[in-house]
Symmetry: C2
Subunit: 457 residues, 2 copies
Amino acid sequence: MLERCLGQQRVRRIQRAVRHAKVTFLCLFMTVVVMRGMLGAGKFGTPAQDLDDLTTHFYASRKHAEPHRVLVEAQPENENENQSNDPKNYATFDFNKILKDEGGEDEKPDPNKPYTLGPKISDWDEQRGEWLKRNPNFPNFIRENKPRVLLVTGSSPKPCENPVGDHYLLKSIKNKIDYCRLHGIEIFYNMALLDAEMAGFWAKLPLIRKLLLSHPEVEFLWWMDSDAMFTDMAFELPWERYKDVNLVMHGWNEMVYDQKNWIGLNTGSFLLRNNQWALDLLDAWAPMGPKGKIRDEAGKILTRELKGRPVFEADDQSAMVYLLATQRDTWGNKVYLESGYYLHGYWGILVDKYEEMIENYHPGFGDHRWPLVTHFVGCKPCGKFGDYPVEKCLKQMDRAFNFGDNQVLQIYGFTHKSLASRRVKRVRNETGNPLEAKDDLGLMHPAFKAVKVSTSS
Amino acid sequence: MLERCLGQQRVRRIQRAVRHAKVTFLCLFMTVVVMRGMLGAGKFGTPAQDLDDLTTHFYASRKHAEPHRVLVEAQPENENENQSNDPKNYATFDFNKILKDEGGEDEKPDPNKPYTLGPKISDWDEQRGEWLKRNPNFPNFIRENKPRVLLVTGSSPKPCENPVGDHYLLKSIKNKIDYCRLHGIEIFYNMALLDAEMAGFWAKLPLIRKLLLSHPEVEFLWWMDSDAMFTDMAFELPWERYKDVNLVMHGWNEMVYDQKNWIGLNTGSFLLRNNQWALDLLDAWAPMGPKGKIRDEAGKILTRELKGRPVFEADDQSAMVYLLATQRDTWGNKVYLESGYYLHGYWGILVDKYEEMIENYHPGFGDHRWPLVTHFVGCKPCGKFGDYPVEKCLKQMDRAFNFGDNQVLQIYGFTHKSLASRRVKRVRNETGNPLEAKDDLGLMHPAFKAVKVSTSS
């Protein structure tokens, strides 16, 4: 099954990694460095600078030098206007200027200091509790059993390398705006790199910490990747189920704790409660993240330790599997690996079934019958190379978007002409009594966003 | 001043339009058709099909046939991987497939029926009032003096013709998400064309009507163009000032009612209260909108009747000026032309002053000192041609975005390295007591989004 999931190319890379026996020694060495970070500096005392300057072979698509992008619009034959040198003509504008990296250097981290997300805080529950008491007009529960949730997502401040990458980011945020509006959830869209050492997939950690500490009124922070889309607009998360846990991710206990499978859970869509435990988890999670040697070497450990993991630098998801699998006693009782619905749903097994779902089911299930989230892992439409054919990714992203969008449009009496079509058609006539319109999905005035009504007369 | 605003080219076009004397006859004829729509079918009886098939000269950039977009990435010299025929390589993907129009035809409107936004509703105040009474958990006022507001914006479901167009749409919606989150406002991002006859700038009318009728809980609908950005995150609209009006637009009474100046008001950012008056206004506003002969001919009337208007098809803004100027008694007492702050701020007179504003003022003024909205009229980054040089538009849009974004980032202790830079730098150190951080602008927990605290013990 893994071959089918990952492809022949990756299986060969895995085999190659196993054969590099000498890396084992370096991995053991790095384990010491990493464990020092997890358990606290001072217990081991080996600074990162002891590491040799090693070259590593990374998972190919992540490390190609990025060519400068020069886009030249082909002139159609019937174009009769002289467009050359027209400064108002976007077709002849040199977009290289937009895409090139800015000059200037990031602050250089001190190699003698172990990485830290920020000053250690040990009394966050008390600080937050006090604040909430003093600020009853910013309650952390909007209604009984309905926590205040902040959905956090984002993308690079640079234009995508590909012409349509930004268009899909735009559709993706519209999709999230729709779900969150229906469910009374606020959104934070990040386009700032807060910590240069934690670039790429690790950038979410400093961001999450900053938002938790700045917004004590937020009970749950919901991280969601930019390539994940909501496909069940009617599904409300089962908040009651999570009342005693602090971290919810889609995944399976056996795959994480027993197999240490690198895809045993997914960090593309998860909930994190705003409390001391979360700060401690972030601190424990972060050490494999700092880019460069630490991240590279940590990647090798993860490839060795986790089942099925290809060779590439450490990523946050693998690090989370490793953290939970090796420190279950510390974290496990507050982590819920949810497989009852698709808090994250791998697109590969979902997108061909949309028509079947429409035929047999309806929104509100959130699971295989009608997935809450369809997540386009590996498609990378903003980059240069994806792990899947471009045409397939874009076509399926359009279908997933329309599948979700139809549930919003039906509120207003419209639907897409097909799952492949941008165009919409009317499915319900206008009337003189719009408030009597059938609201099949209950999404026009959803119960999950109603405010509490004061019962005092 | 108009020349400086509009450019030499447009002044020449205005002069040319005046010289076409024979058009006057057609304009008079069209006035009859249009007035029939405004006053009600039946009073005149001349159907649109009486019009000859006329060709008109439109404002040039709106009517060029659009060339197919073929984007070919130039191969850098040091590229050593064979990218040709790699289906996973976005660089070699044929994006024409994405951009081409879909086949199929829109429903043909019946030429014998005058255009209408929907069945006439005359008791919306009663219907809405009843609904609000029955649904106290969806109040139209969030707090005393704080109406429930829905900000409505949107863009085409097609990727932009220009590689960076979608990137600027993405930044623009992030900017709106930030302002609305801080001010307790919900967002509706539209990407559906609900009525093929009302395409382009007129598409907002059917959308607005649909949203008002579907959301009785919304007190004010705030339409905002996709090329308008918030540049004062701290400015809360003066809702009390508008308690007796139904439509608020940036503009000047003299320029609209006395001069009939086509830019005497701006429909790129306006408030519309959810009531019967609004439905009636939309019905009165719509008749110049249906594309084709009606819109073309209406454009000629508007060019003739309004001061400074170039020759092009009827647009919603000119039509609004014309409507108010010719029917002041009907609408004027419920329209507030706001010039006390920049509900819409023309970018041309603002963007060079940002540094001066930072030096001398602070967020919260909303006016020339710190504009609420900077609106990039004429830039059209999603299209092929703008009215201004591309480089200038994109550079200034980046500056405006960063100017606004800095006000959000400062909540978290960061700022852009400069107004031109995507990169951010830390301006406040992390501490162990994040809730004691200085919140200069009061944006961390803004008063305008606090909920009402029940005073019952």
